[in-house]
C-alpha cells in the first residue's frame, strides 16, 4: 500500500488556533497550549468532547506534557501521546485518521521559553558533547554557520547573497500581526547587523519567545459537516537522520533528498506545482538547503536563485510568507502549518499579506539540533 492509497487526500485540517506570540509571562506552557487549543476548537466548530486523539509536542525543557495537558483539558481521548517534532505530530495525526484509529485529532504546542529564560545559547550541539565545550562550540546556530561558510567555499556564495533570506522574511513579518519582530530590514541594514557566529548575523538566527499553536484534523467526510473551509493533506515525506557534524555528508541537510523523493513520488506533484514554500529555518542558510534538496533549483545555486525578490511575498516562489521562525515566531514549525492553512483559506489578516491564486503549499520541517526532516503538502478544499 502506498501513501497515495492510504493517507493522501483522506485527511483535512479543519481548525487552527494561535495565542499571541512574544511574552506571555502570566501563563504556563501548558496553559498556553490549552489556550491555542480553545482557539482551534472554536475555529473548527468542534468541542473537546469530539476529540478522540490528542497529540502534544513538549517544548524544550520538557514543559507541555500530554499527561498534564490532558488532565487540564478534562478529556479521555482514545489516543493521547507526546511526539518530538511538529512534522511527526501532524503526520501521526493524519495516519490515525486515515487508518480509522481516530476521527478527530487535536495537535497542540505551547511554550513559555522566553519567560523561563530557557534558551539554547550555551547548549552543546551534538553527541560528541563532552568535547564541544572544551573547544568553545555552543549554540545550534553554529551548525548553520559551518554550513554557510562551506557554501561560500564550495559555490562562491557571499554574505550579501545570504541577506536576501533575512530581508524577505523581515518584509513578510512586517505585514503579519502575529509576528514578534516586525521592524523592516534592508540589505544595508542586514550587512550592518552584528555577527553572532560569523558568517551569520543576529537576524540569521531565530529568537526564543512564548506562544502556542493548535490544529484540529479529521476526515473529509466529517469536514463536510463543519462550518470551515478544509485544507487537505496531499503529500507527505519523512527521513530520519542522525548524522553528526563530523560526518562527511552532513553539511547541506542530505536527509531532505530521500524525503523529497517520497514526497514527490507519492503525491504525483513536483516543485512546479508548489505556490508557496514554508521552511522551518531556525537559521537562514537552511532555506537554501531546502530549495535545492526539494528541487526548486540546482544544487549549489540557491544563493543566486533567491536574489531579486524571488522568494518575497510577490516573488515567483514566496518562502516563509509569515516571516519564518526567525522573524514571525519561535514555534518550531507549528507556525508554518498555521499560516499555510490561513493562507490557503484566504484568511491572511491583512490583504497585502494574502498570497494570490494560492492552491498548493509545501511545508518542510527540520531541526537545528539534528538532521531529521519531515514534509507535508497542503491543498485548499477537501
Amino acid at each position: 500500500m502506498s501513501l497515495a492509497d492510504s493517507v493522501l487526500g483522506k485527511v483535512c485540517i479543519v481548525g487552527v488556533g494561535a495565542t499571541p506570540q512574544g511574552s506571555l509571562p502570566d501563563h504556563s506552557a501548558d496553559g498556553i497550549a490549552i489556550w491555542a487549543l480553545r482557539e482551534a476548537l472554536a475555529d473548527s466548530g468542534l468541542s473537546k468532547e469530539d476529540l478522540d486523539g490528542l497529540i502534544v509536542q513538549p517544548s524544550f525543557g520538557g514543559q507541555g506534557d500530554i499527561k498534564e495537558i490532558g488532565h487540564r483539558l478534562g478529556v479521555e481521548p482514545r489516543v493521547g501521546s507526546n511526539l518530538s517534532h511538529h512534522g511527526a505530530v501532524i503526520q501521526y495525526a493524519a495516519m490515525l485518521i486515515a487508518s480509522g484509529m481516530a476521527e478527530v485529532v487535536a495537535c497542540v504546542y505551547g511554550t513559555n521559553q522566553r519567560t523561563n529564560r530557557n534558551r539554547f545559547g550555551s547548549s552543546v550541539y551534538h553527541l560528541g558533547g563532552n568535547f564541544d565545550d572544551v573547544y568553545g562550540l555552543s549554540n545550534p546556530g553554529a551548525v548553520a554557520a559551518f554550513n554557510y561558510r562551506r557554501r561560500m567555499h564550495d559555490f562562491g556564495a557571499t554574505e550579501e547573497q545570504l541577506g536576501a533570506v533575512a530581508v524577505a522574511q523581515a518584509r513578510a513579518a512586517a505585514l503579519n500581526p502575529l509576528a514578534v519582530y516586525r521592524q523592516p530590514l534592508s540589505l544595508d541594514d542586514y550587512l550592518d547587523t552584528r555577527y553572532v557566529i560569523a558568517p551569520l548575523r543576529l537576524v540569521d538566527f531565530c529568537m526564543v519567545n512564548d506562544g502556542g499553536f493548535a490544529m484540529i484534523l479529521t476526515s473529509p467526510e466529517r469536514a463536510a459537516d463543519l462550518p470551515v473551509q478544509p485544507v487537505t493533506i496531499v503529500g507527505m515525506g519523512a527521513q530520519s537522520s542522525f548524522l553528526e557534524l563530523e560526518h562527511p555528508n552532513s553539511m547541506y541537510h542530505p536527509s531532505q533528498l530521500p524525503n523529497a523523493e517520497l514526497l514527490w513520488g507519492a503525491s504525483g506533484l513536483g516543485p512546479e506545482d508548489i505556490d508557496a514554500l514554508y521552511v522551518q529555518e531556525s537559521y537562514t542558510p537552511n532555506v537554501l538547503s531546502a530549495l535545492e534538496n526539494y528541487g526548486f533549483c540546482e544544487f549549489g545555486t540557491a544563493q543566486d536563485w533567491i536574489q531579486s525578490g524571488r522568494i518575497e511575498l510577490d516573488g515567483d516562489l514566496p518562502v516563509n510568507p509569515h516571516g519564518g521562525q526567525n522573524r514571525m515566531t519561535y514555534m518550531v514549525g507549528w507556525h508554518n502549518t498555521f499560516d499555510a492553512v490561513k493562507q490557503l483559506r484566504g484568511e491572511a489578516e491583512e490583504p497585502e499579506r494574502q498570497l494570490a491564486g494560492l492552491e498548493t503549499v509545501l511545508c518542510t520541517f527540520s531541526t537545528g539540533h539534528w538532521q531529521s526532516t519531515w514534509s507535508l503538502i497542503y491543498r485548499g478544499g477537501a
Binding site: G128, A145, R149, Y195, I197
Partner: protein, 137 residues
C-alpha cells in the same frame, strides 16, 4: 601563564585514552578491530559494523580546515573573554573530522582548505588539549 578559564575535558572511561594520548603528544582515535573503520569523537561502538571491539590508534595530526566559524558572542566560560574566537571542523588526512580550534593564525586569515597540524597545549597541570595551527610547510 594566566589561569586557563575555558572548560576542561571531562574525563570518562570512554574518552580517557584520547586525553592520556594527548599528554604523550599523540592524537588518538578509535579504530574498529573488526572492520577497520576509524572514528572520533569517542563512541562505544563502531557505527559502520556495530562491533564493540576497538583499539586506540594515533593519527598523523595533519589535515585541512573543512569549515570554520567565528564567535562574536560567547556563552562559555573563558571563551566569553576572548571574543572573537574561532571553532573549526578539521579533516585529518585519514578522513576523520572533528571540532577543534585554530591557533597561531588571525581569524581573518583562516581559509577553508588550509593545511593544519596538531599542537599539544598544556593548559593546566596534567591537562593537555590538542589544537591546530597552520602547517609549517
Amino acid at each position: 601563564m594566566s589561569e586557563y578559564a575555558k572548560p576542561l575535558p571531562r574525563i570518562t572511561e570512554l574518552n580517557e585514552p584520547h586525553w592520556e594520548g594527548a599528554k604523550r603528544g599523540e592524537f588518538l582515535v578509535q579504530r574498529c578491530t573488526a572492520c577497520g573503520h576509524i572514528w572520533f569523537p569517542p563512541s562505544p561502538n563502531c557505527s559502520d559494523c556495530l562491533s564493540e571491539d576497538y583499539e586506540w590508534t594515533a593519527l598523523s595530526g595533519t589535515g585541512t580546515v573543512y569549515s570554520f566559524i567565528v564567535y562574536h558572542q560567547g556563552w562559555l566560560a573563558g571563551y566569553r573573554d576572548e571574543l572573537p574566537y574561532n571553532v573549526a571542523i578539521i579533516e585529518l588526512d585519514e578522513g576523520v573530522r572533528f571540532i577543534n580550534n585554530l591557533v597561531g593564525v588571525d581569524n581573518d586569515a583562516i581559509e577553508v582548505g588550509m593545511r593544519v597540524e596538531v599542537v599539544f597545549e598544556e593548559v593546566a597541570a596534567d591537562v593537555v588539549v590538542p589544537r591546530f595551527r597552520p602547517a609549517a610547510s
